[in-house]
């Protein structure tokens, strides 16, 4: 399967030039770029590990790309995403978030059905990968 989180997951994987173009767009808007990685891609795992703090003072896409490439080198089989943070009043949130690296093999998720009273079912989504400990999943 292919996890389709992030703004551009239905497109072919972005090339480095395409990643850079999106970073340029975010920097033009005044947003801060952050790089994050994880080997627990559960849809409600909101806190991926930060590859350093968001780069608030960085206005040059080349610098952000350096961090993307360094993170990819350190974690070639992790999911890596680029986030853009907007501090404008009324937003103060992520404005763009897209995956820039993913493991070669994505085993996906098991849907666990816990049959409770009557016909109700409590659902749990569990990543096959997270059955192994962190760091040895992909």
């Amino acid at each position: 399967m292919r996890i389709t989180q992030g703004t551009f997951s239905f497109l072919p994987d972005l090339t480095d030039a395409e990643i850079r173009a999106q970073i340029d767009y975010a920097l033009d808007k005044g947003w801060a770029i952050g790089v994050e990685y994880t080997d627990d891609p559960h849809p409600r795992n909101f806190y991926w590990e930060m590859w350093g703090n968001p780069m608030f003072d960085l206005r040059d896409a080349a610098g952000a790309m350096t961090e993307v490439l360094a993170c990819r080198k350190a974690h070639p089989q992790h999911y890596i995403r680029v986030n853009a943070f907007d501090s404008t009043r009324g937003f103060e949130t992520t404005r763009l978030s897209f995956i820039v690296n993913r493991p070669t093999n994505e085993p996906g998720f098991q849907l666990k059905r816990n049959e409770v009273g009557g016909r109700s079912i409590q659902y749990t989504t569990e990543s096959y990968a997270t059955k192994k400990p962190e760091g040895s999943r992909y």
Binding site: M1, I3, T4, Q5, T7, F8, S9, F10, L11, P12, E18, A21, Q22, Y25, P41, H42, P43, R44, F46, N83, A84, R89, G90, F91, E92, T93, T94, R95, L96, S97, F98, G108, F109, Q110, L111, R119, S120, I121, Q122, Y123, T125
Partner: protein, 479 residues
């Protein structure tokens, strides 16, 4: 004062002379201001008509009453303070009326509207009356909860950023069994949509009772989430005959783990506010389908403009509201739709008469409401939709997903690919308005579902004149 004695003599006085016309009045920051489009009966003076509207929507009755003198009645009288002829519309007048904040109960849309659109809309001296816009004072807004979730928090919960959300309404809207209905939901979500939606008139009918629908839909939602690794949702319509029924349905939706429930505008303002409070208490996004609004928003000489309904619904606490598509099958002049979207999404909406927005509106930190574009739109219009509607919007392709020649999943994928490729191109600085068709054609080379969608719907447009246009610039649109 002798003149006071004269003023309160039993009998009938023109409203303008009763104190409801004050051309020198400067509205206070705490006043509610309403802008009405008035069409007086032949021979009725427009100023007297405006004063009558002010009177009938506040303290007046048809004759002088001495009991006014027991009150600080100057305070409670609404004041018409400005009357302008409507450009290009003979016999119609824009009239500005200010209401003191003490006329209204805090946090109650029912109370606000009972005055502003109460008796006055049936008043005989007027041929027609339309509430065009309102300025809600900061102080009054602060007494409302506002959207239960709001755009920012909804996106954070869904973990979806940087693009419009995608939805579809299950079709056929009536008749499917619960199990077949859930199939449509699963296919559309797995194919790439974020949300699927019950239609406005899906409640609990003989062919599909609500509990059955909820159970199958939640199976579909969870199965699609596991298949894609994304948060997915289905707007479970909880609209029912009584509040007790609606709470029962909403509680069951929550118990099953739904992230969103839905109501129809026809349940009424008080029920909407109750559900908004329920949604805030229960971490639920509240989708509002505007069923019924067309009966009073479409004709521009009579009724209530949808921009005012949108303001009230943001105050009442809806998170999603159907607000027009411009290019689809339902009413929508581009300027008027822009004005409505601003009302939903701004922190501060600036006066823009061309878009029907007659007042600056500071939103007092009420959360933002997500507009929903639904009705006769398809993947081939993606560049137009993004240009007109922006990013914080749910684009709903019902027929455009379910009617896809290769199936529902393919229909959903076509829409998602069209959306992502267009956002990517826009961010790269391309002129999507002009290059849009080419951008879609290029993506269709590697995405056969998109190719099929473009081939199927390439010539579908709904080019009719809008009936609801702003009259500030009389020649702004075709109508």
């Amino acid at each position: 004062m002798g003149s006071q004695a004269e003023r309160y003599k039993s009998g009938v006085l023109p409203y303008a002379k009763m104190g409801y016309w004050e051309p020198d009045y400067v509205p206070k920051d705490t006043d509610v201001i309403a802008l009405f489009r008035i069409t007086p009966q032949d021979g009725v003076d427009p100023i007297e008509a405006a004063a009558a509207v002010a009177g009938e929507s506040s303290t007046a009755t048809w004759t002088v009453v001495w009991t006014d003198r027991l009150t600080a009645c100057e305070n409670y009288r609404a004041k018409a303070y400005r009357v302008d002829p409507v450009p290009g519309a003979v016999g119609q007048y824009f009239s500005y009326i200010a209401y003191d904040i003490d006329l209204f109960e805090e946090g109650s849309i029912a109370n606000l509207t009972a005055s502003i659109i109460g008796n006055v809309f049936g008043f005989k001296p007027l041929k027609a009356l339309r509430l065009e816009d309102m300025r809600i004072p900061f102080a009054y807004l602060k007494t409302f909860q506002g959207p239960a979730t709001g755009i920012v928090v909804e996106r954070e919960r869904l973990d979806k950023f940087g693009r419009p959300l995608l939805g579809a309404t299950t079709k056929p809207k009536l008749g499917l069994s619960s199990k077949n209905y859930g199939r449509v939901v699963y296919e559309a979500l797995k194919g790439g949509l974020d949300f699927v939606k019950d239609d406005e008139n899906i409640n609990s009918q003989p062919f599909m009772h609500w509990r059955d629908r909820y159970l199958y839909c939640m199976e579909a939602v969870n199965k699609a989430a596991a298949a894609t690794g994304e948060v997915k949702g289905h707007y479970l319509n909880v609209t029912a005959a009584t509040m007790e029924d609606m709470y029962e349905r909403a509680d069951f939706a929550k118990e099953l783990g739904s992230c969103i429930v839905m109501i129809d505008l026809v349940i009424g303002y008080t029920a909407i506010q109750s559900m908004a409070k329920w949604a805030r208490r229960n971490d639920m996004v509240l989708h509002l389908h505007r069923a019924g609004h067309g009966t009073y928003t479409r004709q521009k000489n009579h009724g209530v403009s949808f921009r005012v309904i949108a303001k009230w619904m943001r105050m009442a606490g809806a998170d999603h509201i159907h607000a027009g598509t411009v290019v689809g099958k339902l009413e929508g002049d581009p300027n008027v739709i822009k004005g409505i979207y601003s009302v939903c999404r701004d922190s501060f909406t600036a006066k823009n008469p061309e878009q029907g927005v007659f007042f600056d509106q500071e939103w007092a930190s009420l959360r933002k409401m997500m507009p929903v574009a639904s009705g006769g739109i398809h993947a081939g219009q993606m560049h137009q939709l993004i240009t007109y509607l922006g990013e914080d919007v749910v684009l709903q392709f019902g027929g455009g997903t379910i009617g896809h020649p290769q199936g529902i999943q393919a229909g959903a994928t076509a829409n998602r690919v069209a959306l992502e490729v267009m956002i990517k191109a826009r961010n790269e600085g391309r002129d999507i308005w002009n290059e849009g068709p080419q951008i879609l054609a290029d993506a269709a080379k590697w995405c056969s579902p998109l190719r099929a969608a473009l081939d199927t719907w390439k010539d579908v447009t709904f080019n009719y004149q809008s009936t609801d246009t702003a009259d500030f610039v009389p020649t702004a649109t075709a109508s």
